[in-house]
């Protein structure tokens, strides 16, 4: 079981779209996939039409009073399950802070599911906090959407610096960055892509376009490939998944 977290310190860069669409792609290839929506805003949960509620909230999970297994909901797609968001996740930092060995907590919750799933996607809220560090510790790789703008690029710098400075936290973690919400009509995007690629050659080559189909996920309440399978966005996520699996 590989644990992949869609993560960026910055919000609005396409983390949830990446988690939902990559998970859907992996499941459609026959892999057993779980998405854990850790963002209290619950966008991934909304996309999968599941109620954003976990019995006992994040507290019951973190304190071990409720097994993660019992919070899982099947989605409308084969091989694809979800642990829904809960509004209490906004206090995840506090809850983890009170727990013993907080950094290992998420990994411990996921460990019993090892035989049930091939891939787990953690859809993370934008921040860098204790909860983020727990995600880093649990994950095999971070999938980091980078919008080709100065601010977004700066957060990627911050993430790389954190990873370099905290080897005890990140351990085996791999950073898989990719350009997200790319608008090829914008000169700034084109220039930034070129500059940043020379700075970070390890970035994945697939670019996910800024596309109406991704925005329409909220209308259709589902992954792009479920309602627009031939769209540019669906193809981009498929290509991105192929590239990610080759790197894992």
């Amino acid at each position: 079981m590989k644990i992949l977290a869609t993560y960026n310190i910055k919000g609005g860069v396409g983390k949830t779209a990446a988690a939902v669409n990559l998970a859907h792609r992996a499941a459609s290839e026959g892999h057993r996939v779980l998405v854990w929506d850790l963002d209290p805003q619950g966008a991934a949960t909304f996309y999968f039409r599941v109620k954003p509620k976990v019995k006992g909230g994040g507290e019951a999970l973190v304190q071990g009073r409720r097994e993660l297994d019992r919070a899982i909901k099947g989605t409308d797609f084969d091989n694809l399950d979800l642990v829904p968001a809960d509004f209490s996740y906004r206090n995840l930092d506090l809850l983890l802070d009170e727990a013993k060995k907080p950094l290992g907590r998420l990994g411990k919750l996921l460990a019993p599911l090892r035989g049930d799933y091939d891939y787990v996607f953690l859809d993370c809220p934008p921040s860098i906090s204790l909860a983020s560090e727990a995600v880093f510790r649990a994950s095999d790789a971070l999938i980091v959407p980078v919008v080709p703008t100065t601010l977004s690029a700066r957060t990627f710098d911050q993430l790389e610096a954190f990873v370099a400075d905290n080897p005890d936290v990140v351990k085996k973690l791999r950073i898989l960055g990719f350009f997200s919400m790319v608008d090829a009509r914008k000169r700034l995007h084109r220039e930034q892509v070129e500059d940043l690629r020379s700075k970070w050659p390890e970035l994945l080559s697939t670019q996910v376009p800024s596309a109406t189909d991704v925005e329409r996920m909220g209308v259709h309440r589902g992954p792009v490939a479920a309602f627009a399978p031939s769209s540019r966005a669906a193809k981009a996520f498929a290509a991105l998944w192929t590239e990610i699996t080759a790197r894992l």
Binding site: G30, R49, D76, N79
Partner: protein
């Protein structure tokens, strides 16, 4: 994981129309309906069904003709693998033919060396309906299955309620609602079993001896019953052996031959000497003619594991060896087919059942004794021999001593398997378990040695051909080294394994089985 609920519709009238009306009342929404040709696959011994799964190739009748290989859990309805097959390609026959996809590896592990064989073919109309909640989220899936096996009457309509994880309550409520409105009878079997029943398919083969001998029967009856059962196993596996459908047919055929020889050997006081000698000779011949093909099968079956002991970049160096083995297997199987077409085999299969079913005019002196007493005597002798010979083996003993012990252990195992139902089943199970540990060790020791010797022979054959690359010989040398290591490990483990078998607790088990006083054991 939630379990699916499966029902058959037993109401009069058109089940499809009836279910459609009920679905409407229950608020179900139809999302897909497809007509498809479905071929259900399983191994000849039904190992997929035995693990609660079904495997089918589904081809839509209209539209794109691409077939999908679907592996599904019978219990939960979960998809374990779903992969599109290349149009026009032959259906997968062996594990190695399975498309590279998620789930294929687990499926391959189950199938092992067996072939996938069509068990039933049906034409189906499959309708999927869903129950949605207020968010438009599917909480229950319902599958209506109207299937007709080719050339037969339609099967009962089947309704499957497939719960979505986390929505078990909704599935239960819907099940109750449906059951109140249509006459549904819980169906414990998957559709493939209904189709097999309708088609009159034979039972799956089994290499396990399932004997329930009468404990009060005389020895002649017990011996006859065992031999008749073993003959049925040989008959069941003959065609698959002839056609080389997969290597297990010959394996099971040979095991039945070996058990037959062993039962004849143990029948020294049950059968008349002339008859016993004659049939022992015939079954020795039958065993002998199957040996070259089985040896070739074993080499081929072991090859992937042996290749895996080499660094990946050197594994391909063994390709010439694989080609040689494939050629030898083909030639030895051709000889086997010829031998099975011989007059000698024809008279064996004609006269052996006559002997088993006809009266035994002459018998051995213990034929009329109680079967369980005679079996216990034979067991005592075989067990004491294993204990005696095993205790004589130490670090300095020759390999032959261990090989002989392996034969003794096999004899004891056959006795337990063939006549165990005359004795205490619990004690028999414990004895077999203890013996198996010893046999595994002895088997590993001898098999690795035999394989290493065989590889040396294959190297000679390749050299004689004159076109072998040095890399191939080096790779074979690497494999021999690995086999030697394994053999040495097995040899070191022998003392511990034998001590486990010869432990007082296990000796007590055997004593209870053979019912002899405490102070007379080996």
């Amino acid at each position: 994981m939630s379990e699916l609920q499966r029902f058959e519709v037993v109401a009069d009238g058109d089940p499809e129309a009836l279910l459609a009306a009920v679905a409407e009342r229950a608020g179900l929404v139809a999302v897909a309906s497809v007509a498809a040709r479905r071929v259900f696959l399983d191994t000849p011994d039904g190992r997929l069904g035995a693990t609660g799964t079904t495997l089918e190739i589904r081809t839509p009748v209209r539209g794109r003709k691409a077939s999908t290989l679907l592996w599904t859990s019978v219990v939960s309805g979960d998809s374990l693998a779903a992969v599109e097959l290349t149009v026009g390609a032959d259906p997968p026959r062996f594990a190695s033919d399975l498309p590279d996809a998620s789930g294929s590896r687990r499926l391959a592990d189950l199938i092992e060396m067996r072939a996938l064989v069509a068990q039933a073919e049906v034409m189906s109309r499959l309708t999927t309906l869903v129950l949605l909640d207020g968010e438009g989220k599917t909480t229950v899936r319902v599958l209506l299955d109207h299937s007709t096996p080719l050339g037969r009457a339609p099967l009962p309509s089947v309704v499957e309620l497939l719960p979505v994880r986390g929505y078990g309550r909704e599935a239960t409520a819907l099940g109750e609602l449906l059951a109140a409105q249509v006459t549904l009878r819980p169906l414990p079997l998957p559709l493939v079993d209904l189709a097999r029943q309708a088609l009159g398919s034979p039972a799956y083969l089994s290499s396990k001896l399932r004997l329930a001998l009468d404990r009060n029967a005389d020895a002649e009856t017990a011996w006859r019953t065992v031999l008749v059962t073993l003959n049925a196993t040989m008959t069941d596996n003959l065609e698959g052996t002839r056609t080389d459908a997969d290597s297990e047919f010959l394996h099971d055929f040979r095991v039945a031959v070996r058990r037959t020889r062993s039962v004849l050997q143990e029948g020294v006081d049950v059968l008349a000497p002339d008859a016993r000698d004659r049939w022992r000779g015939e079954f020795k011949w039958l065993g002998d003619i199957t040996t070259p093909t089985r040896d070739a099968d074993v080499h081929l079956l072991d090859l992937p594991a042996l290749m895996a002991t080499l660094p990946p970049e050197r594994a391909a160096d063994l390709s010439p060896l694989r080609d040689l083995l494939i050629d030898r297997q083909r030639r030895s199987h051709e000889q086997l087919v010829a031998d099975l077409a011989s007059d000698r085999y024809a008279s064996l299969v004609e006269q052996w059942p006559d002997f088993l079913e006809g009266p035994w005019v002459e018998t051995g002196p213990e034929a009329n004794e109680r079967g369980n007493l005679v079996a216990a005597q034979r067991l005592a002798k075989a067990w004491k021999r294993v204990v005696r010979d095993g205790r004589r083996i130490d670090e300095g003993s020759l390999a032959e001593a261990l090989h002989d012990l392996r034969k003794d252990a096999k004899r004891l195992r056959y006795l337990l398997e063939c006549f165990g139902s005359l004795l205490d089943p619990q004690q028999v199970a414990m004895a077999v378990k203890a013996l198996k540990g010893l046999q595994d060790c002895l088997g590993e020791f001898q098999d690795t040695e035999v394989q290493a010797v065989a590889l040396a022979g294959f190297a000679d054959a390749l050299l004689a051909r004159g076109d072998v690359a040095a890399a191939t010989l080096l790779a074979m040398g690497g494999v021999v080294e690995h086999l030697d290591d394994r053999g040495r490990t097995a040899r070191h483990r022998f003392a511990e394994r034998f001590a486990t078998f010869d432990h007082p607790d296990i000796r007590r088990v055997f004593r209870r089985l053979i019912d002899i006083p405490e102070d007379t054991d080996g």
